[in-house]
């Protein structure tokens, strides 16, 4: 079985994030970059399948030079090879362009059975890239799943969203996005880290991925930021220390603000 895992490197969410003053893109310079936590779990889901079937796992990431670290981490966890799409022209790429590039990269892998992704990233929070990749590749989308079974050419999955839960079924090849509830990712072993150094990471040329793009090149974004303003931090309001009557004070507070 051939599995492709889509992973993204994101700023550590514990740290403060800022937008660059010049082009309103995420300021990555002083951010601490890590492999997205949910993507670690997507990688784990692939590795679990590799334990029971003889799967070959390709990790794909689109991002700056540093994204190679994220790929290396998944290779150290046990994936077989990487594809890193890195091109200055992709700076500030929108959700659609990101999905187009990822879909094109997946197409370079032969006989893909399963594409695995996270259901959302902790930085962009579009939660749309996997669905768009499925659209572009013509694959069934089984997204936001917290449980996954692959058997006899069929995928079944438990989807969990704000709409409730659903059981999904589709034939392979298919695209699956997983939620943070699916598993606990393994830590790379020392042996894994050493082995990862020798695993191949391909860096396809953007122009080879899109041979038909016209002279104006690839459309990077279809939207424009008109204005970006930092929001003033919320100020703390009043503070009560409970002396046995704080609940009653709160009732007064809510009444005064017409909230009850």
């Amino acid at each position: 079985m051939n599995i492709v895992v889509l992973v993204k490197q994101v700023p550590d969410t514990g740290a403060e994030r800022t937008l660059s003053q010049t082009d309103h893109t995420l300021d990555r310079e002083d951010a601490d970059l890590v492999l997205d936590e949910i993507n670690e779990r997507a990688a784990e889901a692939a590795l679990i399948l590799k334990e029971t079937t003889d799967a070959h796992i390709t990790v794909v990431s689109m991002g700056p030079d540093s994204a190679r670290e994220a790929i290396r981490k998944v290779l150290a966890m046990g994936a077989d090879r990487g594809i890193h799409i890195c091109d200055d022209r992709l700076r500030g790429a929108d959700v659609l362009t990101t999905a187009k590039v990822l879909a094109a990269a997946v197409r370079t892998v032969e006989d893909v059975d399963l594409v695995l992704a996270g259901n959302t990233t902790t930085d962009g929070q579009a939660s749309a890239v996997p669905a768009i990749v499925a659209e572009l590749l013509g694959l069934p989308q089984l997204t936001h799943v917290r449980q996954l079974t692959v058997d006899a050419g069929q995928v079944s999955a438990e989807r969990e969203t704000d709409n409730g839960e659903a059981t999904l079924q589709a034939p392979l090849p298919a695209l699956v996005s997983i939620t943070e509830k699916i598993n606990e990712p393994r830590y790379p072993s020392f042996k894994g880290i050493m082995a990862a150094k020798k695993k191949p990471v391909h860096t396809p040329d953007l122009d080879d991925l899109f041979p038909d793009a016209d002279d104006s090149g690839l459309l990077v974004t279809r939207t424009r930021v008109v204005e970006a303003v930092p929001r003033p931090p919320r100020a703390a309001g009043i503070r009560i220390t409970d002396d046995g009557s704080a609940g009653r004070h709160l009732v007064e507070y809510l009444i005064a603000r017409k909230l009850v």
């Binding site: 989308q141 009560i240 220390t241 609940g247």
Partner: protein, 321 residues
């Protein structure tokens, strides 16, 4: 005036309030045209209430299969409606399903996509709050038919009665090799409570609630206020409350009139999902808890003493009126 397509969010029986919010926003740009995807008869049931909220046309995209496959019937319907109406924009709710449908539609149209907007002006400029509330960004689509996903609760619904024309869209049959089949469905466990992203009041519990049983205190306060129940990730991870109620960066983003945090420390990832709430109240034993840094009213105390007293006071107040 150009048409503005609105994807109707519904459960087969009822139109969700968020749809009326979209219709109100759509009127800023043109004539709202509602797109109903469902089993035969659904659009007919919804027509009157959609027209009451300003829909000048209602597209019926109906088939027996429509509810049996994930995403593709909705995207097919929207694509057909776009070809028919050449709209100024397409509006969907920024729910999980809505974001995915919007993304796939934008791919088919090669069009600009803006997700999780909290406002939309008459020139089509969209406001988004990014990075967990640290920036307000205003953006516009520069290529193709704008596909805009609006955060539920962000825009006030308005009644604006008009007469709606019904139009039919012939959905193509679903390709089972390119779509996932939905073989079973279990809808939300919220019971009689409002949905998290529709509620005007949200009462959330954190690890401080101490257990599944402790959540009764949270639920009782939510019920007294007619609100929804939320939970921090620590509470969800510990199994106190189901995942679908998680508020925060990897859960839901909510902007209610009133957000009450009980036993929640206020980690940055939790704040990401609730700091755009109008009024924030926090109860926490620890006076150093970061949640107090942004609470409009912070109570240092035991939630098991404060919350029941508040519940009682609110219930008494409701009884008098």
């Amino acid at each position: 005036m150009p048409d503005v397509l609105v994807l109707v969010d519904h459960d087969g029986e009822h139109v969700y309030k968020s749809t009326y919010e979209l219709l109100a926003a759509a009127r800023r740009l043109g004539d709202p045209a509602a797109v109903v995807v469902g089993t035969p008869g659904t659009a007919g049931r919804f027509k009157e209430s959609l027209a009451r909220h300003g829909a000048t046309s209602v597209y019926a995209a109906e088939s027996g299969e429509a509810g049996e496959f994930l995403a593709t019937p909705t995207v097919d319907a929207l694509e057909l409606a776009v070809r028919d109406a050449s709209p100024a924009a397409v509006l969907v709710c920024a729910t999980t399903d809505g974001r995915e449908a919007a993304g796939r539609l934008a791919a088919r149209l090669d069009a600009g996509l803006l997700i999780d907007a909290v406002d939309l002006d008459s020139s089509g400029v969209v406001t988004q709050i990014v990075f967990g509330g640290s920036y307000t960004v205003r953006s516009e689509v520069t290529h193709g038919t704008p596909v805009l996903a609006l955060r539920p609760g962000a825009v006030e619904p308005e009644e604006h009665p008009v007469t709606a024309v019904e139009r039919t869209l012939a959905l193509p049959s679903v390709d089972p090799a390119a779509s996932a089949r939905i073989t079973a469905r279990r809808t939300g466990l919220a019971g009689d409570r409002p949905a998290l992203n529709e509620a005007t009041v949200v009462v959330s519990g954190g690890r401080g609630v101490g257990g599944a049983q402790g959540f009764e205190v949270v639920e009782e306060l939510a019920d007294a206020l007619g609100g929804a129940v939320g939970a921090s990730r620590a509470a969800v991870d510990a199994g106190y409350y189901p995942h679908q109620f998680q508020v925060g960066q990897t859960g839901k983003s909510v902007s209610p009139q009133l957000y009450i945090a009980l036993g929640i420390s206020g980690a940055i990832q939790h704040l990401a999902g609730m700091q755009t709430s109008k009024t924030i109240v926090a109860v926490n034993k620890d006076p150093e808890a970061p949640i107090f840094g942004l609470a409009d009213c912070g109570v240092v105390g035991d939630l098991f003493a404060v919350a029941p007293q508040l519940t009682e006071g609110v219930a008494a107040r409701r009884a008098v009126r």
